[in-house]
Symmetry: C2
Subunit: 565 residues, 2 copies
């Protein structure tokens, strides 16, 4: 079992950073999967790696996105030398438009595909970010920081790892990484480069933890090709393949299978159409002339001559695939004998939604192929076996697992220890925990406050924990509203109270007992000479709350309104 | 791919049942996992198999339990000859107390352990059901139905399958089943008995579909023993094992490991304490004298001398384990080096909650052992390989997959076909679909209405789809309430409107624009001579709703109250 330093770590603010030392703090992405954002500080200057979003859980209802918490840097925006983006996934670039609201001229460094995806996103926000293209093998000074970029393999093209050299030491940040030894585009993770850096000496290694608990190695992406081919070959009717809209190599293999079996292809879903357009423009996706059709044209083709590539692989309720599963899609109605392939993982938390889609499609007669019954997905993140290769190539002095929940960080740290990293040099740091690299030793020295920043509709940050807690109460039990106008000189009710409930009961008589009860209570408060509307409201809340708990054993929100007249 | 009849099936009521025919209809449990209840009808009489509950999903907020829909039988309660319980899990017995409210003297047939669990449950409802004990090998006439019971192996002791003989043919219902060939209690699934029944001829075979998609065979329960032993042996501090409170054999293996390594055991969680007491009383659980201690005694023992067996393996937020993970348990605070074993599956839908518990425990320093990193769980349901054995033993004429979502039913039906059952004799029937066995052929002949019956607190059925839909709106966006008193003779507001929001925003100024907007609208309605309170409320709802959509792009519930004075 582990000999790592465990437990959540320091709770107090960090000391001043010693001269010549490097500070690292994640404002998101550690202790959770999503909203990756790591801030490096040296010589009074800041470098940020990634700025992504997190998708909400059940206990964050109504929230669209969760952002990293910028508070720790919002007084130091002038000190930012740049933002490095490791790749174009939402959990790495999705919050950039919100950071740009604070720093419109932020220098952003990313690969060609990453920058193209960010540019498309920024356009929707009516922003024109300052994008600087970098590529693997390149070394570039960004303010105080001397950067070097390395090719890495992931479930999106053109991903990069970044080495950050400062006088305090050398940091290597993997971004999201795996070590596919037969990548579809021939672009290997640069293990040789990592070894070279290891020879130079890596003082702090920030490593993707997502699959640290999974033993062994991720199967090559290209091994999915024959499986997809086999599915498409056998099907006489329509084939619909759902996968992530940024997984260019997966889509390439679907297109290849379509070509081989004489099917035309229609992209379904806004982000799929947009991203595949970008990938084709950049030469990352090979689309033979005449292969693509639009949805209307697809409807005119024989069922055996068409294949749809769709979004919705996570069961998103508004996606095309979910609408098909409910029989509500305008152009594609599922029939017995259609085949749907979910060429995707199931992100934790999405299981119920995905299973709902699978069941809906099955009920309508479709054959559903998914990772549970065929090898139609491989992960984009290194398993334990690959992580060992990384540690042995880099031979770091200190390790800081990133990109994962606690269980992933811990498992990753234990792998580091097995390759010879001293346990006391493995720092497990959740969001906000400050790690200082001083004289070659990384230590957790303090904590800055990192909360959840919610985006709901057009507004950022006004929905907080108090609103969410009200939503949870309302969502569980609805509310009972009681309204009465009271003469504040006498405390006497000048109207009969109105009582109404929403989300409480379908029974129209469910609240019949409330009105007389409230009237009796108002008579009591009047008799006691209570004229303060707040106190009257409290009294009403108390009697109605007690009644509903006793009668129904439920806890709706009780909302008394006493109007003073 | 499949040649089964697919699609959701008939939508119209069934025809009258021909004389000499048998009718089968599930009022729950098919097309979903939970609330199993199947009604068999012959000669005007009814036999029910199982009566369980379903646990709610995210889109059913505030609901405690979902019951089978009794409407199809509520006019025919006099016709019920009996209720057979196949085993004591909640999804098979949990709704019995609610059926007993309609038929207090219902004759209930179950095995010793099943009846003991039901008696304990009924006691909490202040009911004393009419329980009749049956056992494997027994044949018994229940009204029109000639029953025979068979031992089956599952994740709870004393489970039964039931054969139902009527002049219309022989039905075999597996209940929940697997074919552990080395069961801990030596009680094998009676495959020999099924073969004998197959020789006689089985006309309709109702088969557990839960794991029909899973290839191969379930590992024997007893193979978990050495894994648990190994964990307990290596740990120097406390060990906490969480599993289902009815999984007597799993708990037995934990107790055995504790005994071997000199640890005392404390049961944690009300249902764990209760069920293990029952199991020990019935001789199903072997508890050496002096092994058990209570929680207070456990706290006084050295950490290496104690083991806790706890509920909470599904991440239930109020369970002991969840409280430990949040650091809120009164008696057990997790420390670095403690080991927690989740000796359990993850029921679909519970993933987020379970991962939350794992992360919380890991963050506090515990080592967490779970089915993802050790063989500490096996399923209670037959995998595809075992189902093939069943089909080949029984050789049924017709097959009706039960206990599963559509994907499971379909996969199970395809297994039947592969063993030689004619595809047209495999009936995929979701809840409410009526299956008639006429002249040896099973056909879907119609549909009765089966909805979700919700239990929320003390009340059954008053929470319906309209209440849930309001709860979903309130849970996503909260509400904005506007209240004003209006003189209905003139249409003039006699108070200033009050505006309040809950679950909308943490920003106290978020609704500042609403009051002037409502006052302007009230001036307009007054000027137009509108005096009807309902129309005034509609006008207010419209302007506020439009404003909030434009300004915030959100959809809170708008609740105008116009009090007539």
């Amino acid at each position: 079992m582990s000999s790592l330093s465990t437990g959540p770590g320091p709770t107090t603010p960090p000391p001043a950073l010693p001269e010549g030392a490097l500070r690292v703090v994640a404002l998101g992405g550690i202790g959770e999967v999503g909203r990756n954002m790591t801030v490096f500080e040296f010589g009074g200057r800041l470098l940020i790696v990634d700025c992504g979003v997190l998708f909400p859980e059940d206990d964050q209802p109504g929230v669209d996105l969760i952002l990293p918490d910028f508070r720790a840097i919002e007084d130091r925006l002038e000190d930012i030398d740049g933002l490095v983006l490791t790749h174009g996934h939402e959990d790495h670039i999705g919050a950039v438009p919100f950071l740009l609201r604070l720093v419109p001229d932020l220098k952003i460094y990313g690969s060609r595909f990453t920058n193209a995806l960010l540019a498309a996103k920024a356009k929707e926000h009516r922003q024109r970010p300052n994008l600087i293209e970098v590529r693997e093998g390149e070394r570039r000074k960004v303010g105080e920081f001397d950067l070097e970029f390395f090719a890495v393999n992931h479930s999106i093209p053109d991903a990069l790892a970044v080495a950050i050299r400062t006088p305090a030491g050398v940091v290597l940040h993997t971004g999201d990484i795996k070590l596919d030894q037969l990548p579809l585009d021939g672009r290997l993770t640069d293990l040789a480069g990592f070894s070279r850096l290891g020879d130079e000496g890596v003082d702090l290694f920030c490593v993707d933890s997502t699959n640290a608990e999974v033993p062994g190695f991720v199967m090559p992406e290209r091994d999915i090709g024959p499986v997809l081919d086999d599915v498409v070959r056998k099907v006489g009717q329509r084939v619909i393949v759902a996968c992530f809209a940024s997984h260019v190599h997966r889509v390439q293999q679907v297109l290849d299978a379509a070509v081989r079996h004489g099917r035309r292809v229609a992209f379904v879903g806004r982000s799929m159409v947009r991203n595949m357009g970008i990938a084709a423009d950049l030469g990352l996706l090979n689309v033979p002339d005449g292969l693509l059709v639009n949805l209307d044209q697809a409807g005119d083709l024989p069922e055996s001559k068409v294949l749809f590539v769709s979004t919705g692989s996570q069961g998103e309720p508004l996606s095309a695939l979910s609408r098909m599963a409910r029989g509500e899609h305008r152009q594609i109605s599922i029939r017995a004998g259609d085949t749907v392939v979910l060429a995707s993982s199931m992100i934790p938390g999405n299981e119920t939604a995905v299973f709902g889609v699978v069941n809906g499609l099955t009920r309508l007669g479709a054959n559903v192929v998914h990772q549970g019954n065929a090898k139609v997905h491989v992960s984009g993140h290194a398993s334990a076996g690959e992580l060992l290769y990384l540690y042995n190539a880099v031979r770091p002095s200190n390790v800081m697992p990133v990109h994962g929940e606690w269980k992933h960080l811990r498992a990753n740290g234990e792998l580091a220890v097995r390759t010879g990293v001293a346990p006391e040099n493995v720092v497990i740091a959740e969001d906000g925990v400050v790690v200082d690299l001083v004289d070659g030793k990384a230590t957790r020295t303090g904590r800055v406050e990192v909360g959840h920043v919610y985006v709901d509709g057009l507004s950022v940050g006004d929905v907080g924990e108090s609103t969410l807690s009200d939503r949870l109460v309302l969502g569980e039990g609805g509310f009972i509203a009681i309204t009465v106008a009271v003469d504040t000189s006498t405390g006497r009710a000048v109207t009969r109270p109105t009582v109404s409930g929403r989300g409480f009961s379908d029974d129209p008589k469910a609240l019949d007992a409330v009105l007389p009860m409230v009237e009796m209570e108002l008579a009591r408060t009047e008799a006691e000479g209570i004229t303060d509307t707040h106190r009257i409201a409290q009294a009403v809340r108390r009697v109605v709350g007690r009644w509903v708990a006793d009668t129904y054993r439920r806890r709706p929100m009780i909302v008394p309104t006493v109007i003073p007249v």
